[in-house]
Each structure stands twice: as C-alpha cells, then as structure tokens.
Amino acid sequence: MIETLDVVWRHRIFYLFVLPFAVLTILFGLWPILLSIQVSFTASATALRPNPTYVGFANYLVVLSDPAFLASLTKTFLYTALSVVANLAFALGVAVLLDSALLTRGNLFFRLAIFLPVVTPDVAGYVVWRWLFDRSFGAINAMLEMIGAPAFAGLTSARTAMASLLIAELWHHAGFYMIIFLANLSMRDKALEEAAHVDGATAWQRWRYVILPQLKPALIINTVYALIQFLKTFTVVVVMTKGGPNEATNFVSYYAYQLFDQGRYGEATAMATILFAIVILISLTFYRIADREVAA
C-alpha cells in the first residue's frame, strides 16, 4: 500500500496528464453505464426517485418474454447480417476495382465520391434519402417510371422498408470499409502475384488464393466494426421510418428508446443492457475466432 502510494507520488506528473481524460471517461462513460444497469433492476415508476424500489431481474424477465422484443431482436439480427454482408461485399468489390491498374486516371475522384457520405452528417444524408424514396417527391420512383420499371414502395411498405434503410446506410458507411480494404490492398506483397502468374495461375486463382488471404486483417476489422455498427442501428430509423411501417424496422435500440419515451425506464435499460451484452459477446467471439484462424 505504502509502496503503491510511493509509486503514484513519484509519477504524479503522469497522473496529472491523465486526470482530465480519466474524469471525462468516468463521468460520461462509466457512471451512465452503471446508472443504466442500476435502473434496469428497479421498478420503472420509482426509477428516477432517490430511493427506487429494486425488483431483481423482473424487468429482464418482462423483456425476454415480450414477443415484440423477440421479434425486434430477430429483425435486428437479420438487418445486421444483411447489412454486414452487403456493405463488406460492396466495399471489397469497389476497393479491388479502384486498386486495379485499369483505373489510374480519375482514381481520386472515385474515392472521394464514395467516401464523401462518410463525413456527411448522417441526419442530413438520411433526410435526403427519406425524400428520395418518397412516392410523390422522390427521384427514385420518377426514374423507375421513366425507364418503365415498376414502382418501388420504399418506406411505405413493410416488405421494402428494411431494404430502403439498408441502401441509405450502405451509402453512408461503405466508403469507410472501402478505405480499410484499400489500405490493406496497398500493403500486400505484389511479388507473390507475379510468381503465381509465372506459375500459370489464372486471374481468378491469383485473386482467390494469393490476394484474398492477404486481406484477412481488413476483413476482420471491417466485420467487427460493421457488426457493432449495425447491431446498434438507430439514427436511420429515427430519421426515415420511426420503426414502421407495421414495426418492420423497429430494431432493438429504437424499441428501447420508445420505452424510455413512455417512461418504462426499468424495461428500457434492461433491454439496453441485453443489447450491450450481445454487442460485446459477438465482437469478442469474432476476435477469438479470428485469432485462432490467424494462429492456425
């Protein structure tokens, strides 16, 4: 104890450096999370009082036996899976295209065009997409009509709403995954491809067996990022659908947010804690699988 204090005192300047960072992390990171977990064990009606009534796991039981929550969770997983695959496939395809020797001139223009939405405020981007999908104002249906294609129901139908959100989110996020792939592609060992070429490997074989294995770091990083990103999908729902139509896009974070709005704090924070646990579990599992793959 004395020794520890001595170590701390001798390095007090480093504690001084780290102090503001520590204060902010504790005040606005740790404290709200602990409060949130605490509220999840209290009765909603008393949650915000100085002496709330503790109800154990009652809120968790209510949430886990609520069919609407389970439906919301299923939709969240489905949307996450589709989004991760669509975003990564698109970003990888574009990165390989832009990395090829075929596109030397104008390459920067293509990169800027696809990355610009990443730094565009998401609210602004999704507001524009909301109206692009609109039946009477929107450009998308006007274009479809012009080429004689059937109309796209967009946000007005439960069958197409999820796809519409996926398109808008892909526009906003794919550029980020693309630059990770591009960074990885520029670091690869090109001599290996030459050697494979000399050995008579076809273009497909070179891509599949020489290039793709070298992209494993970018694939892992992008998968983890995308999983966390899409499990937490929120802004696009607030701006474009409010969970509708007919609950089709009522993902977990939006559902929990609605409970907050109705004053059901206990259940809302229980739901938040469950989603937090899922996010951590999935990312850790994925990291572990990735580690084993690399080691093997």
Binding site: V39, F115, L116, V123, G175, F176, I180, A268, V279
Partner: protein, 281 residues
C-alpha cells in the same frame, strides 16, 4: 502480359463505366438536395428529377431564417462553437491521456482506465439517454453548452490515433532527453508534442467532422432549441407535420456544406487518418 491489347482496352472501358456509375450514384443525392433547395415544392412534385432549377431563387433561405422560434444563424453559430470547442478540448485531453497511458502503462490504475474507456465506447450510446440525462442533471449541466461540449470531447478514433503514434516513438528519443536533464513536462512539451504536430492535425480534423454530425447527445442534453446544432434543427424540422420540403433541403445543404468543403480540402489526411485509427481498434 498474355492479355491481348484489345481485351485490355475493353476491360478498361468497362472498369471506368462501372466506377463512374457507382460514383455518380453516390453523388446524386447531393445534387438532388442542392437543386431541390432552389425549387418550389410544387415544381418538384411535377418533375422530381429535373437536373437544374427553373429559376435561381434564393428566397427559401429568407423563409427558413427562423426555425422553431430560433434564428437560423444561432444554429449555425452553435454548430461552429460546439464543434470547435469540443474538438480543441477533446484533442488536448486525449493527447495528454493517451500519452500518459502509453508511456507508463504499468502505473497503478492505468490499465483499468484504458479498459473502462474501451468498454464505454462499445456501449450503444443511444441507449444512454436517461442515464446521461441523469448525470447531467446531477452535475447541474442540463441545458448548458458546457454539458454538451464535455460530453462530445472523447471519442474512440481520436484515442486510437494518438495511442498508435505515441507507441511508435523510439525509446531512445525519450532516454536522450532524460540524459540531457529534461523534466517529464519538458519531455512532453518540448520533445513529444512538436513531433506529434501532424497526428494532432489529423485528429483535430477528424474530431471536427465527427462532432459536427452529432445530434443525439445534443438533443438529450438540451432543454430548449436554443442549444441545438444544425443536424438537430434539421431533424426537428423533418419530424414536423406538413413538412416544408424545400426548407428541409435548404437546411440539409447548410448542414452538409461546411464539412463537405473541409473534407475536400483535407481529403488525404482524413481518409488516411480514419483508416489508421480504425486499424488500431
């Protein structure tokens, strides 16, 4: 190469056509937003995909000079003030914190602090509404600029970029300074921070771009629209019934333009920085 010349040429044309189509599809929403801001709502309903406004009419900007009882200039000033101050504060605090944590990782409490930070950034922060509201209430910061700015100061990419940079500084640099009799404060301010100028610029740029786009914490911490930034005002306007479509598009243009220009001016730094900051995560 074994590929015949003609094939190569055809392949190149196909590659340009594909990359060009994708790029134009990504840029089209910006063009549509811009054109729609200058067209009357009736005209848009009649011809949604016109590529150029009928007349160059700026009157919409006078029409949205007041939004929700607050002057437009106030939202613009809020955006610049909140984003600017949270960036300066965040960069300073993160640089000092990341430096201490990477230089002396074994000091008591340092590893724990780093873990707490890493866990906190994984929490779905849109679910922190009530707790953050409570924390701000208990600190007396509800509805204040200070509350908003402090909440926006820390972020993961900023931390990872600094951490990555400080880890790469050779130990000899610091040892040499110690031998020269420099104090720890002198080492940081005379040796390390001058070396860190480029990474600091990158972190500041990225923080500005990310914080400009923030809306949810600002909405939660605000008591009235007086402390709203542009994205929050845009969302509020978009949620109104009987929405003023042309006004929404004009406000979306104002919200997007400053960061789009900043990004285009500093694109290399932003894209490389974001890629590097992510790879560390």
């Amino acid at each position: 190469m074994s590929i015949a010349r003609g094939d190569n040429r055809a392949l190149q044309i196909a590659a340009y056509a594909l990359a060009g189509t994708i790029s134009l599809a990504f840029l089209y929403p910006y063009w549509w937003m811009l054109v729609s801001a200058f067209r009357a709502t009736k005209a848009i309903m009649a011809a949604p995909i016109r590529l150029w406004p009928e007349t160059l009419d700026f009157s919409i900007f006078a029409e949205i000079a007041q939004i929700g009882g607050v002057p437009l200039w106030r939202y613009i000033a809020n955006s610049f003030a909140i984003t600017g101050l949270s960036t300066v504060l965040g960069v300073t605090i993160t640089a000092l914190g990341a430096y201490a944590l990477t230089r002396m990782p074994k000091l008591p409490g340092f590893a724990t602090l780093r873990t707490v930070f890493l866990v906190a950034i994984m929490y779905p922060y849109m679910l922190l509404v009530i707790p953050v509201y409570l924390v701000m209430y208990k600190l007396g910061l509800l509805g204040s600029y200070a509350g908003i700015i402090l909440f926006l100061a820390l972020g993961p990419i900023q931390f990872f970029l600094f951490e990555q940079f400080f880890r790469k500084i050779p130990a000899e640099v610091i040892e040499a300074a110690i031998i020269d009799g420099a104090s720890e404060a002198q080492i940081l301010f005379r040796v390390i921070l001058p070396m860190a100028a480029p990474v600091t610029a990158t972190v500041a740029l990225i923080t500005f771009l990310l914080n400009w786009a923030q809306w949810f914490p600002i909405m939660v911490i605000s008591k009235t629209p007086d402390t709203y930034t542009l994205p929050v005002a845009l969302l509020a306007m978009n949620t109104e019934l009987g929405a003023n479509f042309q006004g929404i598009m004009a406000l979306a243009v104002i919200t997007t333009l400053p960061v789009a220009v900043l990004f285009l001016l500093a694109q290399k730094r932003v894209m490389e920085g974001m890629a590097a900051g992510a790879v560390k995560g």
